[in-house]
Structures are given as structure tokens and as C-alpha cells.
Amino acid sequence: MAIVPLERKPLTFAERTYIPQIVAGLKTTWKHLVRPKQTLEYPEQRPAIPAGYRGVPTLVKDPHGREKCVSCQLCEFVCPPKAIRITPGAIALDDPTGHVEKAPQEFEIDMLRCIYCGMCQEVCPEEAIFLQNQFSMTGYTREEMVNRKARLYELGGTLPDTHFKWDKKKAAEDHGNALH
């Protein structure tokens, strides 16, 4: 690139008195002074959370109210900081969802360890764990910072489902594939 010598013009008299510049500056700050304020007043006003935000990991239920997690422990295995601990449990056979066979007996996510990477959500074959919108997680003790199963479902709520995988499996079991 060619070198372009720039001519440095000497300051004019008006510029050397500083006055036009000061007046221009005062005008600018006045404009900012009367303009509406930019602040989001946090606890009352909340920011809009963009889609795909990775907040606190939660467990979700399907629209029929069935807990989706089957305690396969893939998330526990993949979790880089080892924040997840699952105690697998069995579902009684006479239960309406008995054919799913397994559900977590206890599910703990230690939020002091969690790094919000979202790998648990990515690895989950059941679409049962989601990093949702909650971004502030506080507590006074270490115990409080561990999200247990009940709390995880409370945070997660119900998300829409397009597959109803286990309903289809049950239908296939009962009627064969002809129906579908």
C-alpha cells in the first residue's frame, strides 16, 4: 500500500480558543441528556431471551405429563465437569407407561459445577433435558445449588413434542406396524 503523506493543517484561531469545540460538545451531551434512558431496570424489567439461549439445564415432561428421561445416563457420561448424577430406577409394569421400563429415581445437577455447555441437551436421545431461559441461579448454601429431580421438573415444565416415540412403540406392540 502506498504511503499517503497527510498534511497537518495548523489550528485556526477559533479552534485554538477551544470555544466552538466546547459548544459542540455541550450540544452533544445535551442531546443525550434529553434522550430516553437506555437502562433496563433489571429485577422489574427482564431482557428478552433469544431463541437457543443456554440457561439452567432442566428436565421436561411431554404433553401427556410423562417424564421423558429414561435414565440412560448418557448425559451423566458426557458432562465435562461431572455435574450430573443419576440414580436409575424402574417403572412398575402395570403402570400406563410401564413399557418405557426405566425412569430416574433421582436426578441431580450440581449448579456449582455446571458450565452451561449444553452437551447434555445435545446427547440426550429422548429430548428430555433442555437448557432453558433461566439465567440467574443463586443460593446461600452448597446444598441449595444442587438441583434435584423435583426442582428440575419444576424448572423445565412441559415442552411440545412432535414424535411421541413411546406412544408409537406401544401402538406397534399392540397392533403391529400395519396401523401406521
Binding site: 460538545g25 455541550l26 452533544t28 443525550h32 437506555q38
Partner: protein, 386 residues
């Protein structure tokens, strides 16, 4: 009540006046510190401090919320914090002078208020009588003489702190304040040359200056801002330098000197420096208003007496001395507060000058300008009044 006051021992009268001054200056200092935070916030697009609230005020429907949004209770929270936090005394300081410095800062700040008239009332003959705590004939000279003692507190604080940054701050303060005092004094001489016309009793009183700006006619009613714009400009610029405000706050200069002369100070002693700075600003703005902005006259070419005449033709009670007094004080305070807003507005607009620029502006620009201005007006006034 006035008779009862005048019967009191002069010492008791003095103490009462002193208490009145403290009771006015300290709350205004606190309000100014809050105004500073609010103005800076607004200029930066923030709402500023607006959370603190006392529960029983929060119960008042609209007013409570308004006061909360205004940040009024942050003033009290700040003041309370300043009073009750630990007042650490560093081990390496010269203790006597270290404690003395903030006291020395307060004394001139509170003393000068007494010589500044802050309002006026009409006596039974219809004459405008200025309201002032100590009606001394040397007026402005007293203000200048006492307020320039304020620099000693900065030097003392800088030296007694026994640490490099405060020391540099103190040195800067002394050099800067002395440099700008010259231009400041020279800039007001034309005003007093004009005011002390031949055949009048000579005075340096600020009341006379306002009286001169309340005369009938085009030239009589014009504020000195219009007659002597250069003087007003020099005085205002020097005022910024004298009160250590941006862009001239070299003694404090937190970017390069940590906190300047008050680096080692905290809690109440630091608060005293702060109040002293605001008191200086307040008095400086007051003097500027009296000299160049017509004092307690509501608008240029509309003196207080005329204004009161119009009001009393609508509202008969308007001629009462107390009403006129309150009205004039309100007008004067409005102008002073507008000036203080201007100080803050400038502070959040301009960056700080470099130290060599401060010296160059002071000695090479303002001082010659002030001398030229004085000579021009001296010749002009001599020709006009001869």
C-alpha cells in the same frame, strides 16, 4: 421577632448566623452531590440512583415514587455512610496538619457566604434593600480574599499526607489557583470601574452591582453579561479553575494522581473537602450571578421592583416585604442552581486539560486577555463618564 433578634448579644447573633450558614450549605452540598450523580447519569443515558426509599414515604402514592426516582434518599444514605464509616488515619501522615486541612477547607467556604447578598426586599420608601448576612463595604474583595485561603487547605492536605500523589496534587493546586486568581480579579475590575461612577460613594459591594443592573433604560437594565461579555467569559473560566472543576480539576485528577490531594482521606474528612468544593461552587456561581446575570432581577430589562409592581397590581399581597424577599431569593437561587447545573454539564462534557495546557491557558491566554479587556474598558469608561 426582628426586634428580639436585634436585642441579642452580638456574639449570639453571630453564632445564629453561622448556624444558619451551616444549615444551608451542608444540605445544598449534599443535594449537589446527588445532582452531580443524576446529571452524569442522564448525560450517559442512565436513570441514575433511584432505589433507596424510606418505607413510610413509599406509602404516599405518587409523591413517594417521584422522590424515590429522584434519588432523594440516596443523599441521606450517602451522608449517613460518610458520617458513620471508619475514619482511618494513615500511620505515615503528619497527624495535626492532616486533621487540620479539611477544617481549613471548610472555614473560607463557609465564611465567604456571609458577604454574598442572596436576595432583596422593598422597604417602605420603595427602595430595594439587599439581604446579606454581613453587609460589609468591601464586598467582593472580602469574598476574593477569604476564598483564596481555600488553596492552603489543598496544599496542607497534600503535604501532610506524606505520600507522592497527594503531594503532586497539592503542588498543582497551588500553582493553578494562584495563576487563575490573577485573571479572575482583573476581569471584575471593569465592572467596578463602571459601577463606581464619579460622584457616587465608592464601594466594592455586590449589592451596588445588582442595583446598577436594575436601572431603567436600555443600557441601565442590561445585565453585565451583555455589556462586558469578555469579562464574564474570563471570570467564568477562572471560576472553573478556582473551584477545581473539570476541565481544570488538576489537583484531584483521578486518572493520573489517584485522587490528588485527598488520596489519603476518607469518611468524614473527605466529605468535608467535598462540601467545601460544592460551597466554593455555590459561592462562585452566586458571585457570577450577582456580577453578570443581574442578581435577583427576574429578566434582563425587567428589574425586581418593576416585576413586583406588576404582581401587586394582580395580587395585592405581592408588595409585602416578606413576599418580595422570598421571591427575590427564589429568583436568585434559580439562577445559581442553573449555574451549578452548567458546571456539571461541562464536567460531563469535557475531558481534563493537560497540566501544561492549564498553565498555558492561564498565563499566556487568559491573563493577557484580562489585561487587554481591563485597559479597553478603563479607556472606554473614562471617555464615557468624563
Amino acid at each position: 421577632m426582628v426586634e428580639f433578634y436585634l436585642q441579642l448579644n452580638p456574639v449570639v447573633q453571630g453564632v445564629l448566623k453561622g448556624l444558619a450558614v451551616i444549615l444551608v450549605i451542608f444540605p445544598i452540598g449534599g443535594a449537589c452531590s446527588m445532582a452531580e450523580r443524576k446529571v452524569s447519569a442522564w448525560i450517559q443515558g442512565r436513570p441514575g440512583p433511584n432505589r433507596a426509599i424510606v418505607p413510610w414515604v413509599a406509602w404516599i402514592p405518587l409523591v413517594g415514587t417521584f422522590l424515590q426516582r429522584l434519588g432523594l434518599f440516596h443523599v441521606m444514605a450517602d451522608g449517613g455512610k460518610m458520617l458513620f464509616k471508619e475514619d482511618a488515619l494513615p500511620g505515615h501522615v503528619n497527624k495535626f496538619y492532616f486533621v487540620l486541612a479539611p477544617i481549613v477547607a471548610m472555614i473560607p467556604a463557609l465564611t465567604t457566604v456571609t458577604a454574598v447578598p442572596f436576595g432583596a426586599y422593598l422597604d417602605s420608601a420603595g427602595m430595594v434593600v439587599p439581604l446579606v448576612l454581613a453587609n460589609v463595604d468591601i464586598g467582593l474583595l472580602a469574598v476574593f480574599a477569604v476564598s483564596s485561603l481555600g488553596v492552603y487547605s489543598l496544599i496542607l492536605a497534600g503535604w501532610a499526607s506524606n505520600s507522592k500523589y497527594p503531594f503532586l496534587g497539592g503542588v498543582r493546586a497551588s500553582a493553578q489557583l494562584i495563576s487563575y486568581e490573577l485573571s479572575m480579579t482583573l476581569s471584575v475590575i471593569p465592572v467596578f470601574l463602571w459601577v463606581n461612577a464619579p460622584g457616587m460613594e465608592p464601594t466594592m459591594g455586590l449589592g451596588r452591582v445588582v442595583e446598577f443592573q436594575s436601572q431603567p433604560g436600555f443600557w441601565g437594565g442590561a445585565w453585565f453579561l451583555f455589556i462586558m461579555p469578555v469579562s464574564a467569559f474570563i471570570f467564568l473560566t477562572s471560576l472553573f479553575a478556582e473551584t477545581n472543576r473539570q476541565p481544570f480539576d488538576m489537583p484531584e485528577s483521578e486518572a493520573d494522581l489517584v485522587g490528588g490531594f485527598h488520596t489519603e482521606y476518607g469518611a468524614f474528612k473527605w466529605g468535608l473537602f467535598f462540601v467545601a468544593e460544592y460551597a466554593h461552587m455555590l459561592i462562585g456561581s452566586g458571585v457570577f450571578t450577582l456580577l453578570f446575570l443581574g442578581g435577583w432581577n427576574p429578566l434582563p430589562w425587567i428589574p425586581l421592583a418593576t416585576f413586583v409592581g406588576w404582581l401587586s397590581s394582580i395580587l395585592p399581597i405581592a408588595g409585602h416585604p416578606i413576599f418580595v424577599g422570598v421571591l427575590s431569593i427564589t429568583i436568585f437561587l434559580t439562577k445559581v442552581l442553573a449555574m451549578i447545573f452548567f458546571f456539571m454539564w461541562v464536567r460531563w462534557t469535557l475531558p481534563r486539560f493537560r497540566y501544561d495546557q492549564v498553565m498555558e491557558i492561564g498565563w499566556k491566554k487568559l491573563l493577557p486577555l484580562a489585561i487587554a479587556n481591563l485597559l479597553a474598558y478603563a479607556v472606554g469608561i473614562a471617555l464615557l463618564q468624563s
